[in-house]
Symmetry: C2
Subunit: 372 residues, 2 copies
Amino acid sequence: MPSISLKTPSASYDVTLGTSLLKTLRQRITRATGSRTSRIFFVTSPALWKLWGEAVTESFESATVLFLPAGESHKRFASVEKLLEQLARNGADRDSILVAFGGGVVGDLTGFLAAIYMRGIRVVQVPTTLLAQVDSSVGGKTGVNLAAGKNLVGSFHHPVAVIADIDVLQTLPKNELRAGLQEAIKSGVIRDPKLFSFLEKNADKVLAGDTKALQTVVDRSLRVKADVVNQDELENGLRMILNFGHTIGHAIEAATKYTVLLHGEAIGWGMIAAIRLAEQRGAMSEKDAKRVVDLIHRYGPLPAFKAKAERLVELSAGDKKNRGGAKRFILPTGIGTVEIVTDVTEDELLAATSAMLQEMSAMTKTKKQVKR
Amino acid sequence: MPSISLKTPSASYDVTLGTSLLKTLRQRITRATGSRTSRIFFVTSPALWKLWGEAVTESFESATVLFLPAGESHKRFASVEKLLEQLARNGADRDSILVAFGGGVVGDLTGFLAAIYMRGIRVVQVPTTLLAQVDSSVGGKTGVNLAAGKNLVGSFHHPVAVIADIDVLQTLPKNELRAGLQEAIKSGVIRDPKLFSFLEKNADKVLAGDTKALQTVVDRSLRVKADVVNQDELENGLRMILNFGHTIGHAIEAATKYTVLLHGEAIGWGMIAAIRLAEQRGAMSEKDAKRVVDLIHRYGPLPAFKAKAERLVELSAGDKKNRGGAKRFILPTGIGTVEIVTDVTEDELLAATSAMLQEMSAMTKTKKQVKR
């Protein structure tokens, strides 16, 4: 099984990637934590547990399962408090281990629970969506949403192990697979031209859910993430490049109230806007820009949404990545390279966002004509 | 102004102690943080702000004030979420600084807000009760209560500065002053015989609120705390000695639903129980035990409460200081020395707790006779 090492000033752990990992989950957790007697608390969604609960608990003598309903709307303080009370009532102590079995919402929220229960207990991430496997399960970011914005609350709390079983992706809805692959494209664009080429050449296999092809994609994406986090754990510099496509992507999610697009889909559109901005500036060649935009659409279709360019630019100003007023923007300069710039004007951002929206509008029209 | 240094693996900051510090608060915060432009958000209680708001903001050109009603019942997730939403709506960003102006509840909760807002922003502690000045404002522990128990949630998040102004204690209710002094007695017993003697010799002055005497008490108590935390930030060993009196103290608070006694008062009774246990074991001489118990009562009266010894012992078993089943107990062995033991039996604890309750009962009877 390939295993990828995270080594930051505050944590050191392995990401194990492969197939048939679930059936030996207990042993893997014991090996990673050195704790044979710690109590295990799973946090998962009811639907996922119905599909995989039996397989997951095969290697366990006992474990407590706490449920979090699926969906972003449950990534709120009400769920946090409820689950913390359940942990306390079920006797979780400082030696207990939480296992997040689910996608981004379960992973972010369970990581946060582990960060704050009794001032910090251990968590193992077992990501079940492509998005969580390539991105959110690794790197220690945890988060909860406020009414005022997404992920405005959280902490840095690394897992003691990440166990990513490709088999679990079999039951992942196809649109979630495609959305997750947008983050893989992101990894290629910012740092791994070979991953980018692989995604170009093997699109059919990857989209069909071919295990070996998916494993290559997850593996390479994870290595990008690990490499970046190992160099800048707390996002003071390099780690910001992981936010390529996220400035406008987050604004799209906020403008559509998180109900129209999956996160990866919003990031797909956000990357297109960033590419258009890079083109306008002459930072990226027309040819490279076309390759990236084509690949994003190849892993689509990205659903259309309704929002004005002005509104998206306005919403992007409130992104929490901003610090002390300076707005950072991740600008691709080629396939595999980006730069962090702070001089993007509102006009530039507006022009790029408008270009992206026009593209969407043109595609929608084409589709309608085809339908006729 | 005496200033005490905290230097742990994760943080380094000064505690400034003195009088007339509030009028230069802005400059002190700027000096400690190096941030002249960061936005400042005060968290405080309405009653306290009425008394001190004008003095506190004298040195500020602008600041936002968020209110948390006084009392332990507000140290809950509902308050946390409400204040986080207010921070977001008022435009707090990663460079903003929270200032906790209040006692233990304000300090613990504001520290937690700072730990989780945007995954961590800076906090300055300006403690206004004796308890907060000698103990809770220093050391990075933050906390929120669950229905299932007190401080079951929180994180380690050190302030960037602690500014303790003795003047503020002038408006502190006398019972709160006395309760806070129980924690000073604790500091003396566990590590500072000179502080203990000072408290014995200067009881009248200290209890009358004499500024110079109080400053000596706060200064020496803080040095004990800083010294311990500097050696064991995360409470894996030495820091546990700060919990002297807290095993039964916490149980008393839980048994009386946090409404009968102030925290320091419960710790006073908890220390008496621990002293009786030490005596039973022969760990502490009868003479030393008498000195400690006499001093605790000298800084009383500790209010009586109703609880069965069995119930207190039962509740103490759920204390979160326990880890993986092993129960640690802080046993005084003299004035200024303690040891951490793990072999205290339930019977011993029951006997010591019963002895403490009998003492309380005897005192109550005496008082009634006197009244007649």
